[in-house]
């Protein structure tokens, strides 16, 4: 295989375990829902050592819920969670199709990771702050963002709330307490500590949640976040989404260890490792961390173990660096299939209901798409006015930008 173990290397260079042409043989998980008890919310970091080393699950391989972390989530809420995940998957598919026709410049799907932001946001209160990386757009569905507005941002038309300034999927939505996404990876993680401390300073019952990828955990910001959160006992929930791949970089290049969760403990952060494709487990650990933060006991570090089933972005072709069917080999399965089969198992859902849900959302997405393109798209315009280039750089437009704006308009309108 190209590039793999090409030479006797004098320095250690890690490889991905499987490359194109290989069969991915992940070790099957032995973790069971009954493995871990739920500690008290005021526990010490050390008391979570086994939770960090193990894997918290609520759904068994047969998608039966059990164990200490199995909370009493209503069937209605579970169906809502399933609906949001289906919504995100269908939305992503539509956006990818639009990207391929030039209606947007770029797109990133959440395929296989839909449960992460959706279950975790559902476990929060509406006043809590969401500080995402680029694969948590699903939180916006939970908070009720209008899909048309999301599409208008992605296709950069006149109704884009960030005025054509940002690449697609770099959502901003203050009303939903969803903080603007930045391309330089990892920056949000340490900033989230500041958001949380500001809430605490003001005496507000607000918790801040943030996510970082396994790849981005190499950045200094990851370590700043854990350290500052520990030092200041900030009301934050810091999630490392270990989805195995950062573009072409396997998690082996992000860490020589096999576990991210345990890194929180020396920073004095209780740390949990959770099956990221298990909606119920994600919900449960997040609720625990929220309760802990709200009660004034400080931050929690969570490793969300999952798999990036799609490409990094519309610019990426993962068949060049990993086996095509690797996602199907992932021991955690698919988050939508698992919650669906759990709901069917407990008599709260059926294949027929699922089919009609998909149909309903298909037309919801199609209608939103038709509505959004009325305001323009990247291929055909109209675009946000280029006057927006000069506004909100500062609070007011200084003389040199005013001069340049006039100059730009002279050319644009010529």
């Amino acid at each position: 295989m190209a590039g793999k173990d090409a030479t006797n290397s004098p320095i250690h260079i890690p490889s991905a375990p499987f490359r194109p042409g290989d069969t991915s043989t992940f070790e099957q998980w032995t973790a069971k829902p009954t493995d871990h008890s739920m500690p008290a919310i005021n526990c010490s970091a050390e008391e979570t050592a086994e939770h960090a080393a193990g894997l918290i699950r609520v759904l068994s391989d047969d998608n039966i819920a059990s164990g200490d972390w199995n909370r009493d989530i209503s069937a209605e809420d579970l169906r809502l969670g399933l609906e949001h995940m289906v919504r995100l998957r269908i939305f992503d598919d539509r956006m990818m199709k639009m990207q391929r026709t030039g209606k947007l410049s770029f797109y990133m799907r959440s395929l296989g990771e839909e449960a992460v932001a959706i279950a975790q946001t559902m476990a929060l209160e509406n006043q809590d702050w969401i500080f995402p990386s680029y694969r948590q757009p699903g939180a916006q569905f939970v908070r009720g963002r209008d899909m048309v507005s999301m599409i208008c941002h992605c296709i950069g038309n006149e109704e884009d709330n960030v005025k054509g300034r940002q690449m697609p999927v770099h959502y901003t939505w203050k009303e939903g307490r969803f903080i603007s996404i930045s391309s330089p990876v990892g920056t949000q993680f340490s900033q989230a500590v500041g958001v949380g401390l500001a809430s605490q300073y003001k005496g507000l019952d607000e918790v801040t949640i943030s996510w970082i990828g396994d790849g981005s955990s190499s950045q200094g910001d990851y370590h700043y976040a854990l350290n500052f959160a520990g030092v200041f006992k900030a009301p934050v929930i810091l999630n490392t989404v270990n989805n195995q791949w950062a573009i072409s970089s396997h998690v082996n290049i992000a860490t020589a260890g096999k576990n991210f969760a345990i890194r929180g403990i020396p920073y004095d952060l209780p740390s949990l490792r959770v099956d990221g494709n298990d909606f119920l487990a994600l919900y449960s650990v997040t609720k625990w961390a929220r309760d802990r933060a709200a009660a004034g006991f400080g931050a929690t570090h969570i490793e969300v173990l999952t798999y990036r089933a799609g490409a990094h972005s519309s610019s990426d072709d993962p068949t060049r660096y990993r086996p095509q069917d690797e996602a199907q080999c992932w021991p955690g399965g698919d988050p939508i299939e698992r919650l669906k089969s759990h709901l069917i198992e407990i008599g709260e859902w059926s294949d027929e209901q699922h089919d009609s849900l998909e149909e309903k959302i298909d037309s919801e997405v199609m209608n939103a798409y038709k509505e959004a393109v009325k305001f323009g798209d990247l291929a055909n315009g109209p675009y946000p006015s280029s006057d927006h280039i000069f506004t909100e750089v500062y609070e007011t437009v200084p003389w040199h930008l005013e001069e340049q704006r006039k100059e730009m308009k002279r050319w644009r309108d010529a």
Partner: protein, 336 residues
């Protein structure tokens, strides 16, 4: 000579130098097995070995720091920052460490690092995939700054940069990787049949500190670098003015003689860059030119640059200097 695009010529430069210098190592995000998001390192790991071409963790500060350490201990590191916009976590290591070690150690340690990074706009990358931050490095004593513009000069300059014992920040205009850019987003030519895309497969060098005279003329000197060289070329053709186009190639230290000689001949000058105008490298050029050529100048020096704003996404064509804006500046110099 072989026709190459700029991705291939950068690849060829790295390949050539890996072959010649066993102490050279290449690393960066996604550049090992995958060959980089722009494919500039494609096939190099397979050919030269994992220990010489490898992926690094996603930490630009760590990448620069590791290069510093390797550099002062006898290796010749060439690292890639995936987009120039992502160089800032490495800024401290580059500006305070890599750039200063020769001086601060009394010359006992040197750090022959080459920092390659795709820069500039025109790919609908928004403000975090489009910036051209050369001025943030030209202002740093100890660094040399190079900005290539064609497949031919990319390879020749990169080889010189790698061989240099001084640290170099080497900007590659990503919009020109697969073809020159003439300022019209709907015209997407390739490098096929372009004379500057005829590239030797073997070793050759273009000296640093040397500007390229891209077009000869005597009515006005137009100075540009990176993608703007091609936009300026288009502007000159549109203007009908007999301009001399200088592709600066190396910004620090820049080619004082070629620039001075040209302006003494033309008496007029337009400087073009896509980075913001305020404190852009054009400002340094204007100041230096008036010091050297004041009595030869027939009119004020014109600057055509990006606006002093973040780089936009959907409206990027209203941001980047266009052939029309440059042509107007050229005409203005002819009125004097």
């Amino acid at each position: 000579m072989v026709n190459m695009n700029m991705v291939q010529s950068v690849n060829s430069a790295l390949d050539t130098m890996l072959e010649r210098d066993n102490d050279m190592v290449v690393f960066g995000e996604d550049i090992g097995y995958f060959g980089g998001v722009f494919r500039t390192c494609d096939g190099l790991q397979e050919k030269h070995g994992k220990h010489r071409v490898f992926d690094a963790p996603l930490a630009e500060g760590g990448i620069a720091a590791m290069a510093f350490g390797m550099g002062i201990n006898g290796l010749r590191p060439v690292f890639e920052i995936q987009f120039a916009d992502y160089i800032f976590p490495a800024y401290d290591q580059i500006v305070n460490e890599i750039a200063k070690i020769r001086h601060r150690s009394g010359g006992e340690f040197t750090c022959p690092v080459t920092i390659r990074t795709p820069a500039g706009g025109g790919i609908k990358g928004g403000h975090h995939h489009s910036q051209s931050p050369e001025a943030q490095f030209t202002h740093t004593p100890g660094l040399k700054v190079v900005y290539c513009s064609t497949p031919y000069n990319a390879k020749g300059l990169l080889i010189s940069a790698i061989e240099s014992n001084d640290p170099i920040v080497f900007f590659e205009p990503k919009r020109c990787y697969r073809g020159p850019f003439y300022g019209d987003p709907h015209n997407v030519p390739t490098w096929k049949d372009h004379p500057e895309a005829e590239v030797p497969e073997s070793y050759y060098k273009i000296p640093l500190e040397q500007a390229r005279i891209a077009m000869r003329g005597d009515a006005c000197t137009v100075i540009a670098w990176g993608a703007m060289v091609h936009v300026a070329e288009q502007a000159i053709r549109n203007s009908g003015v007999n301009c001399e186009l200088l592709d600066l190639q190396t910004l620090v230290p820049w080619d004082r003689e070629t620039v001075t000689e040209s302006i003494k001949k033309t008496g007029r000058c337009v400087i073009v860059h896509e980075a913001p105008k305020t404190s852009g490298f054009g400002a340094e050029m204007v100041a230096s030119i008036q010091e050297r050529c004041f009595y030869h100048l027939e009119c004020p020096i014109e600057r055509v640059a990006g606006w002093d704003t973040p780089f936009p996404h959907t409206m990027e064509w209203d941001y980047m200097p266009s052939p029309a804006r440059i042509a107007e500046a050229i005409h203005k110099t002819q009125e004097a």
